[in-house]
Subunit: 169 residues, 2 copies
Amino acid sequence: MTRGVLSVLLIFGSILFVFATGKPYIPKTGKRIPETLSRGWGDQLIWAQTYEEALYWSRTRNKPLMVVFHLADCPHSQAFKKIFANSYDIQKTLDEDFIVLNLMYETTDKNLSPDGQYVPRIFFVDPSMTVRADISGRYSNRLYAYEPTDEKLLRENMEKAKKLLKQEL
Amino acid sequence: MTRGVLSVLLIFGSILFVFATGKPYIPKTGKRIPETLSRGWGDQLIWAQTYEEALYWSRTRNKPLMVVFHLADCPHSQAFKKIFANSYDIQKTLDEDFIVLNLMYETTDKNLSPDGQYVPRIFFVDPSMTVRADISGRYSNRLYAYEPTDEKLLRENMEKAKKLLKQEL
């Protein structure tokens, strides 16, 4: 009997809820899983949404910024993402010492494409808002590209980026 | 007995998995829930990440763009977001006929702040990349602001934005 009363209350409550908040919108193609800002590059990191936001965070928190350009349908991006997202050391250092941003579309800042708009490519930006073009990978035709075998090199480059420019002056 | 063997296999499999993928990184402050691109403005919508991306989508798909500026710690933004995200009509129309972008940081495009950088404020951009400064709300001192009571006005403005500029020429 009590269970019956509870059920009625529950149904009544649900109807009230729908009336109060309205029918939720579900696309015809079915419910979608919301896209995250990480896009698979590290779900535990706090990703900036835009370059402007990332630069602001970098300047105000005095941390270097890492910008990763990638594409969902690029196998090189996907292969490197797997290494990147699963590297404990990369993720920990990024979380503690860096501002992070990943982008699938180019910005209007030409300093982020000095040798072209290929993917994946990674740039470091100093809190002074200087793009660290001096911190590059091992491929002379695509200076800022990284392959899955370049995890160690990326970690070394992160250490370089942590030595902020103003401390060197 | 079979259950015992299965348990051993399961443990062995888990160890193999951790060896293969490495220890996952968890922040000292505990596991985080990844931030979504919707930021609460409609989990079923496909949000662009940046203004450049949104303009590209708008141009190539010939759909008007809606840009929502908001802040997490602004009570006006929060109040309007609740109405916005729970309106079946707004969400359905946006999903079917618009490109959507929500931003917490300003862009470098001054056309998106003709009367200041207040929040919440909403702009429509035509696929021809023209900011529709003519589509505004009801407050003369903050032309592009909307209050929770302005749901109907926003829906009307969305209809205006759907009449693309090039069709009017």
